[in-house]
């Protein structure tokens, strides 16, 4: 089971469900953001920067810094810290701006 602070706060969440990250199965709890689910599974980076391809993940965690952008169900630039995880979500590492297919 993924690490969560649920015990600390005496939470009684509903049954866990599965999402995927780059094809790998990750367990999430109802109400968790995508970023929380990934963190809970020990995954800290899910985007690379446009310049230099450096790894990025959650930084502020409250939707302000836009560092945690991820591609969720094929849509790039979703703030992982704000998007609630839903059963079956496919999260993929976002390369840079995430719009490479539009390039000409």
């Amino acid at each position: 089971m993924a690490r969560t602070p649920a015990d600390l706060v005496g939470a009684d969440p509903g049954p866990p469900f599965e999402i995927t990250f780059d094809g790998r199965t990750v367990t999430a709890l109802p109400g968790q953001s995508v970023a929380a689910a990934l963190w809970g599974a020990g995954i800290l980076a899910w985007r690379t920067t446009r310049d230099g391809g450096r790894p990025r993940g959650a930084f502020c965690g409250i939707g302000q810094c836009y560092d945690c952008l991820a591609t969720v169900n094929g849509q790039p630039n979703k703030r992982a810290c704000l998007v609630p995880a839903r059963p079956g979500d496919a999260v993929t590492t976002q390369e840079g701006h995430g719009h490479a297919p539009l390039g000409v």
Binding site: R50, N77, H97, H99, L102, G103, V104
Partner: protein, 366 residues
């Protein structure tokens, strides 16, 4: 930008130059533009001559300045939306070609070779390889640094000092007086105010424009692409709102979407109507943009002159005062030629082209 160019060429002519700017570098109209270096939108005449001279000077500057100015000789593509529009564009381009502009008609079936994301069904366009782009704030800052002029930012000119014969002696700022035998008014949209301080007259008016900025993207737009209606909007004297799509990519990724023109004084209020029209016109030209997000917008005030020509040269009433302002939306592009003219006039040299059409004394004081 015009002030930075004046400083650059004047200093290279051996003059000692101090630049006084009430804001930061590129804090006025320079930082609120798209960095257009266009010949394509200008009809044959003095402004086009100035633009053609500047095009060559920008190429040289781009070699001399650090790469961070983001100079891109990407070329322009003007697209007609109707058959009659294409006929008019073709005539316009033919006239430009006689004045030294390189213009190549692109038939409908070749438009997508140049711009794969262009909307289908457009009747054709004209390719202008001399059009280019810079990042205007970076270009102004690097030009200023390369000039080695003394730069005083955050310091506003509060008075123009004159001697017993009415000749310029320098300027006063809150931190003291600055003595100089010549003062160049490169205050852009605020050039009319500075002229008034010196007892001179220039009818510079603000013409507002918004730019819409998308999220960072790969290269989806290769050239400076705009609708043929833009040329008529630029030349219009109307105060009412005009919008026509001008779309370009940037090295940083975001696509910039202009252009709106309206004379509403210095009102910075966000206009949703303007943004809606810019977005609609840009997505009509590039449907792919409907799938990406606009992240922000910025606005600026072009220095508009009633006859659409800048004021470049000596003031007829105040000896020692020179003007270099009123370039409307073309100041970035026209800056090097303007700076070179000012430097030549300051040193008693021959201007690189006929400056009579730009003489500041052509306006009668109201």
């Amino acid at each position: 930008m015009v002030g930075a160019a004046c400083a650059y060429y004047a200093a290279r002519s051996g003059l000692t130059v101090t630049v006084v700017d009430r804001g930061p570098v590129a804090g006025g109209t320079t930082g609120a533009g798209e960095g257009n270096l266009l010949v394509s939108d200008k009809e044959p005449g003095p402004e086009l001559d100035l633009a053609l001279l500047s095009t060559g000077l920008w190429r040289t500057l781009a070699e001399d300045l650090p790469q961070h100015t983001e100079y891109e000789p990407k070329g322009g593509l003007v697209v007609a939306s109707t058959g009659p529009g294409l006929d008019a564009l073709r005539d316009f381009a033919a006239a430009q070609a006689t004045a030294g502009v390189t213009a190549r008609e692109i038939p409908a079936d070749r438009l997508h070779d140049l711009e794969p994301h262009l909307a289908p069904g457009l009747p054709g366009g004209v390719h202008y390889p001399q059009d280019a782009q810079v990042q205007p704030a970076l270009a102004a800052a690097h030009l200023l640094r390369a000039s080695r002029a003394e730069v005083r930012t955050g310091e506003e000119v509060t008075a123009v000092l004159t001697g017993p014969g009415g000749e310029v002696r320098g300027v006063r700022t809150p931190s003291g007086t600055l003595h100089a035998p010549c003062v160049v008014n490169a205050a852009g949209t605020w050039g009319g105010e500075l002229a008034r301080l010196a007892g001179a007259y220039l009818p510079v008016l603000p013409r507002r424009g918004f730019v819409l900025v998308t999220e960072p993207l790969p290269r989806v737009v290769r050239h400076k692409v705009y609708a043929a209606d833009y040329v008529a909007d630029v030349a219009s004297a109307s105060a009412a709102l005009q919008t026509s799509a001008v779309v370009e990519g940037t090295p940083a990724g975001p696509v910039l979407i202009g252009a709106s023109r309206e004379r509403v004084g210095f009102d910075r209020t966000l206009s949703v109507e303007v943004l809606r029209r810019l977005a609609a016109q840009a997505t009509a030209l590039f449907p792919v943009l409907a799938r990406v997000r606009a992240l922000r917008t910025y606005a600026g005030f072009r220095p508009y002159m009633p006859d659409h020509l800048p004021a470049i040269g000596a003031d007829p009433r105040v000896p020692g005062l020179l003007h270099a302002c009123g370039h409307e939306g073309a100041g970035i592009g026209l800056a090097p030629a303007t700076g070179l003219i000012i430097a030549r006039l300051l040193t008693g040299g021959e201007p690189p082209l006929d400056v009579t059409p730009f003489r500041p004394g052509r306006f009668a004081a109201a």
